[in-house]
Every structure is written in C-alpha cells, then in structure tokens.
Amino acid sequence: MTEQTLRQWLLTDTPTSRRHAKLSALYQGWLAFRSNTMAMIGLGILLALVLIAAAAPLLAPHDPFVQNLGNRLAPLGSEGHLLGTDSLGRDILSRLIYGARITLYIVALVALIAPIVGLLVGTVSGYVGGWVDIVLMRITDIFLAFPRLVLALAFVAALGAGIENAVIAISLTAWPPYARIARAETLTIRSSDYISAIKLQGAGGFRIITKHIWPLCISSLIVRVTLDMAGIILAAAGLGFLGLGAQPPSPEWGAMISEGRRFILDHWWVATMPGLAIFTVSLAFNLLGDGLRDVLDPKAGE
C-alpha cells in the first residue's frame, strides 16, 4: 500500500471498514458544507457567540449588574460604555455579552428536550401503530392546535416566571413537529426489508426503535432543529419581552428590549442593541440550518 494523506484516506472511494466509510461520508459532507459561504458565516457567528459566552468575564468591560444611577441612559460611544448604559446605569455591552450565556443556555436545553420528546412520541407512535398511534397523534394535534406563544405563556403562567420554566414551556410547544417527522420516517422505515430482517432475527420492539429507527431519524431531526433554533430564540425573547422569561436583574436579551422600549423615543439604542443581537444570532442559526440541510438532506433544500 502506498503512503496516504489523511485527506486521501478520507476521500477514498473504497472504504476499508464501516468506520472508515462513516468518517469519509462525514468529511465529504463537511467539504460540501465548507463551500457554502453563507453557512460558514453562520457557523462563524455561532462559534464567536460560544466563545463570547465562555469568555464573558474576560471580554465584558464592566460588571453587567453594577448600577450607576448617576450615569443612566448614556448614549452610544460614551466614555467606557461603547453601547451606552441602561435605565439603571448598567453597561449595555457587558449585559449583551453575559446575555449570550442565557441565550445559549436556553437554546441548548430546548434543543435537547424537544427533539427527544418528539422522537420518542413519533417513533413509538409510528412503530407500534393502532390505538397508541391514534392517541399519541391526537395529543400531538392538540398541542399543534394551540397558538404557540399562548401555550408557552400559559405554561409559564402556570409554572411561574423564570428561565427554566421558559425552557420547559418552549420545549412543550416545540415537540409536536418533531414527533410528526419522526413518525413519518418511522412509517417508511418500518415496512422496509431491513427491519423485517432484524425482526426475523428476533429483535424486540424496544431494541428496534432505539438501535435501528432512531439513528435513521436523527439526520432529518438535526436539520429541523437547527432551522428551528431561530424560532426558539425568538420565542424565548418573546417570553422575556412579556416579562415571563429570565427574572431581573438577569441580562436576557428579550427582557432588555422590554426594559428599553420605554425609552424608544429618546434613547432608542437601549432597545435596539439587544434586538440586533437577537437578530444576528437567529440569522446565524438560519444560515447554518440552510447549509446543513443542503448537505444532509439535499432533496428538501432546492
């Protein structure tokens, strides 16, 4: 055998093992993804966001909670406060930087909870069928028929305002579409020869769902989740805006807009800056999602 670079090894047409094949496919996907400039911009923004969130104490010029009533509502570019200060004289830039942590926290939790719940409901429903399917899908319909924000609002109102409850509420409204996708995938997979073969080997339902159906549903779910991230961020911001998300003095972006909207006429930047932050991040997720979709699920894209 001749010497091979890693690149060549990854790009081979004749994989030597299963793992090799998998890695190779991944790498080729990455190459396709990398050529998509917009998606790379999205990824770049998100990586920057993660870095900013991780290094918040180093990056933030001020403590995001320190108040200075004597220097409130300072304008953009004032000394020591690049993005000005808010109603209690807190540095807006620092609050935005710390707020990135909250945004990531919400997104990460929702992205974990909702698809898993959806996957569970969808695959069970699709695989088992019959009454279980009818009941589970009816429940899904019920949740779908609710206005999303109203449902989230109702849950937060029931559970009490707070960031964890906001996450739960958003997850509760976000799972039904995943359940539908997972169910649809399951239905196509269920009747395939491949599953019949495994059944013949005596595998149980649980094993089939977890070992064979779930992995096949994952890629379409990932695409969907990434595309939904922006929606999740916007929903969280909406709850924060209504005062039902993170509680003060937490620098959640939606809540910051809500605080700043009172000054919109004379001190427009107080509400504008967090709005731009939300916009940037959700745009990044959309760009990334578009790119991922092109790679993982080409037929859905164009």
Binding site: Q67, P75, L88, A161, R262
Partner: protein, 531 residues
C-alpha cells in the same frame, strides 16, 4: 430629537418628497376632551363594587354623592353635593342630611332621599370589595334598614359609635358613596342581585356626565348631562382611550390626537415638555411605594434588621433618576396633605449603618425573596434594592409577577418581602392608619387579609389601640397630634419601609385648563375642564 432621529428624518424626507402623509397633525374638536390613559384595570363600574383607579374616574363624573370634593378647591374638603346640608345629633351617632331639591337622574327620575338610602344600603348588603368603607361604621346587611333610612327629603344614618364627623363624611366622598337611581337599577334586577350585574356595565347616575360606552381595554366615552344641577359642563364629549405605552401616549399628544396623556414615564415627560403646545402639570397623589418585611421570617423580625432595611434604600438616587418627577421621598404612612401627615423623613441611604445594625442582630448569609408586581418602576426599585442589599451580604431574589400572582402570596403571608404600592381609599387618616398600624388579631386564623399589618404578621406593638382612639377623637388638633405620635413610633418599629409618595404628571395640550386628577384625595374630574 436626537441625532439618529434627525438623520432618519432627513433621509426619509428626501425619499418621500412626493409622498403625502396619511395622518396630518390633528387637533381635537373644541367641545371634546380626549384623554390617553391606562384603563385596563376597570373590571366593573358598579359604584358599590368598583375599586380601581380608572373605574373611580368614571364614577366620579357619572355619579353624584351626598357630599363631594370640588376639583377646583380640593383643599377645602367635602362640600354639599346631593345633600344640601346636614346636622349631627347630640350623641354624635346620627347624621341627618337634607336633600337638594329639583335634581334629576340621567333617566329623568328625581333624586330623592329614598334613592340615597337605597344606594348606601345596597352597597352594604352587596358586601363587595369596597363595602368596608361603610361597614366600618357598624352597618350590616341585617341592620341597614334601621341605620340608613329616608324620611321625606331627609336621610338619616346612624353609626355604632361616635366617630369624628369628618371621618364619616370623608368616607361618603368615596366611590361607594355614589347615589344610584333606584327605579332604574331595580328594573334591571336579576335573581335578587340589586342590579349588580347590570350596573357592572351600565350607569344610573345624576352626575355631570352620562356614560355612553365602556369598551374594556379600549375606551370609555361620556357625554355631558345638560340638566346637571351644577350647570352643563363645557366639554360635551369626553373620550378616554386606553393606551398602554408611554411612548404611544406621548406621540398621540405631540400629534394633537389627544388633549391629555396621563401615563408618561419620566423620560417621556422630559421629552414632551420640549414639544410645542404641550404643558406638564404635577399633582401630588396619595399612593405610597413601600417595602414590607414578613414578621414570620426569623431574621426579618429582628428589630435591628427592620431598621437596617430602612437604610438600604437609595432614596435620593432613585428619586433623581428613574423616578424623577414622579415620586417624592416620603417615609410615613399618611400621605402628605392628609390630616396629621408628618414631614419627618429620617432615613437615608447608608450602607455602613445598615451593616452595623445587621451585625448587631447577628445576621449572616441571608437570602430572601422579594415579590414585585410587573410594573417597570417597581422592578427597577427592586433591582436598586437588590443591588444595595448585595453590598451588605444579603442575597435578594426578585420574583416578578402580575398583580394577581404576587398579591395572592402576599395575602397568604407567604412572601419574605413585598414591594408594593398603597393608595388611600378615602380622604381621612384612618384609611391608612387602619391598615398599616392596625391589627387586632395577628393569628393566621384571623385571616384579616385586608390589613397590611396582618399580611406581614406584625402585631403593631400596641399601635392598634392608639389607632382606635384616634379615629373617634373629635378635636381636630388633638387628632393630628395622635397621628403624629403613631407615625413617629411606626417609623422606628414597623416592618414597613415606606419610601416614596407618587406625583402624577399629566401632559396636556396647552389650551386645556382646570385639569384635575384629584390629588391625593380623590380621582379625576372632567366637568370643570375647559379648552
């Protein structure tokens, strides 16, 4: 306007030279008064039940009472309204009112002593929220027929004890003292509800205005009563439009779409006062902003801790920043301008002092929850307090909720600390003394949820008896002194950190004159307004 705004205007002007604007700067008609206000608190307009600010505004203009407060001369106190005069019996328990002749309700029915008796009895029997204002004089559903009775054009009311006459009459200026049209109301009675269901959304008064419509969360429309005994009001139509946002109210005012904007925040007041044709008027209101410490909490019940919290408020910092112009420092439970009010404000922001007091009490690592209603100024006060408390090692967790969420827990004595507001119910010192410093039974079973002292599990340390004594004192100077003494003790011992008294800033088009929101004693009046 700031640079950004100017820049945008410039750009837009260029683009839009040929575009005609869809809404030109308007002016309201000369005989119409248009007010932008938050009216989402109105849940009912039955005067026997109505108890919210915007609802009281309606009833003040739609209903007449036995005695009234003159919006042009509020300092004078109560004046004759539907009652032309009154006499007090020898024993001081019975007041006999002589009714004004020739006054009619909007329906055309004459206003009689019988209507007056019915209205007060009805309020007592229905026993809705504000009923305590009357029932505190010993009226009950059972004895109402004897204690409140009409005879010809005279109305007699008999109280269970001898109270200060001014106290009784002051209570009758409240919304619940409104006189309703018995015939009309009883014609709309359903299942013995004394017309309650109907009056919730309709009116039957004799006041300067007739109610045309109340659309929840949208508007209240009134038209003038040409037969009003005091003369038909100048403004023939009054529209109160519900506008939630301060910024929106300001824009409406600046564009001339409304005559008065009532809920502008300090920043918008500052902005609007630079606009052409707009003026700002201040009125000291009765509402107090306070923090209360639950005495069930083992640490918060220590006297030193109670004192320490009074030094943890940045009174001046807040007054001069986000509360600017809308609150003044006030540390006593009687609002300024009330009989017996005190001017003493001994506490100031002093972290060192607070630290010493906490050390003396042996408090360490305290973590408490503060319940705050979802109103921006309160959330900011909460955060300022949280910030100060952090400096003495107390961790404060803010729980923000709607009024109903937070109040429920406060009334159930569940909150560690409550940040809230209290407004007097009628223009007599008893209104606040009887709740801040009065708590005859501090047990859970007493369930005296109406008393602030009870809600905070505070037994008042003997102030209850002093309040009882003050309310029956008929000598004015003596009574003032008694309230001064109660407040002096209250400041030092109570678990209430009273911080601010509200100033209502109304922004008006400058052709509006004689506007009154009722100061600390009553609600807004429209009939004296001219343009």
């Amino acid at each position: 306007m700031n640079t950004f705004a100017r820049l945008l205007t410039g750009v837009a002007m260029g683009v839009a030279v040929s575009m005609t604007s869809l809404s030109a700067v308007a002016e309201t008609p000369a005989n119409m008064l248009v007010i932008a206000h938050r009216i989402d608190d109105i849940t009912t307009i039955d005067p026997a039940e109505s108890f919210e600010f915007a609802g009281s505004d309606i009833s003040r203009n739609v209903y007449s009472r036995l005695v009234m407060l003159d919006p042009n001369d509020l300092a004078a106190g109560y004046k004759p309204d539907l009652a032309e005069s009154w006499e007090v019996s020898e024993d001081g328990k019975t007041i006999t009112f002589t009714m004004r002749e020739g006054v009619t309700f909007h329906s055309g029915n004459p206003v009689t002593a019988e209507d007056a008796a019915f209205s007060l009895q009805r309020a007592v029997i229905l026993n809705k929220t504000p009923a305590f204002i009357l029932t505190q004089f010993g009226f009950t559903a059972e004895n109402a027929a004897e204690t409140i009775r009409a005879d010809g054009n005279k109305l007699m009311i008999t109280t269970d004890k001898r109270y200060a006459t001014s106290f009784v009459l002051n209570c009758l200026t409240a919304t619940i003292g409104a006189i309703v049209d018995k015939e009309t109301v009883m014609a709309n009675e359903v299942d013995g509800d004394m017309g309650n269901e109907w009056l919730k959304t309709n009116s039957a008064g004799s006041g300067p205005y007739k109610l045309d419509s109340w659309k929840p969360n949208e508007s209240v429309t009134m038209s003038s009563n040409p037969d009003y005994y005091g003369g038909a009001p100048a403004m023939e139509r009054v529209i109160v439009r519900h506008v939630l946002e301060s910024a929106s109210q300001r824009l409406l005012l600046e564009r001339g779409d409304v005559d008065i904007a009532r809920n502008l925040n300090p920043e918008d007041i500052a902005g609007v006062s630079q606009a052409d044709g707009v003026k700002v008027e201040d009125e000291l209101k009765g509402r107090l902003m306070y923090i209360a410490l639950n005495q069930k909490h083992p640490e918060l019940s220590k006297p030193e801790v109670r004192q320490a919290f009074k030094y943890l408020i940045d009174y001046e910092g807040m007054r001069d920043s986000f509360l600017k112009g809308q609150y003044t420092i006030h540390q006593n439970f009687l609002p300024a301008t009330y009989l017996g009010a005190s001017e003493e404000n001994p506490f100031s922001y002093n972290i060192e002092k607070a630290k010493e007091l906490l050390e003396a009490a042996g408090v360490e690592d305290l973590e408490i929850e503060i319940g705050v209603r979802e109103a921006q100024e309160r959330i900011e006060i909460g955060q300022s307090f949280q910030n100060a408390a952090a400096q003495v090692g107390i961790k404060v967790n803010i729980t923000v909720g709607t009024a109903k969420q937070i109040l429920g827990r406060y009334r159930a004595r569940e909150l560690d600390v409550y940040l809230g507001a209290w407004g007097p119910d009628y223009p007599d010192p008893q209104t606040n003394a009887g709740t801040f410093a009065y708590n005859p039974d501090n047990s859970d079973e007493a369930n005296a949820t109406g008393l602030l002292a009870w809600r905070n599990s505070w037994d008042t340390g003997g102030l209850t008896e002093k309040v009882d004594a003050a309310v029956v004192e008929n000598d004015r100077d003596m009574r003032i002194q008694m309230y001064q003494d109660i407040q002096a003790e209250f400041r030092e011992t109570s678990p209430f950190v009273i911080m601010f008294q509200q100033i209502e800033q109304s922004a008006l088009r400058d052709n509006v004159t004689d506007w009154s929101t009722g100061q600390a004693v009553t609600s807004a009046a429209y009939w004296q307004v001219t343009k």
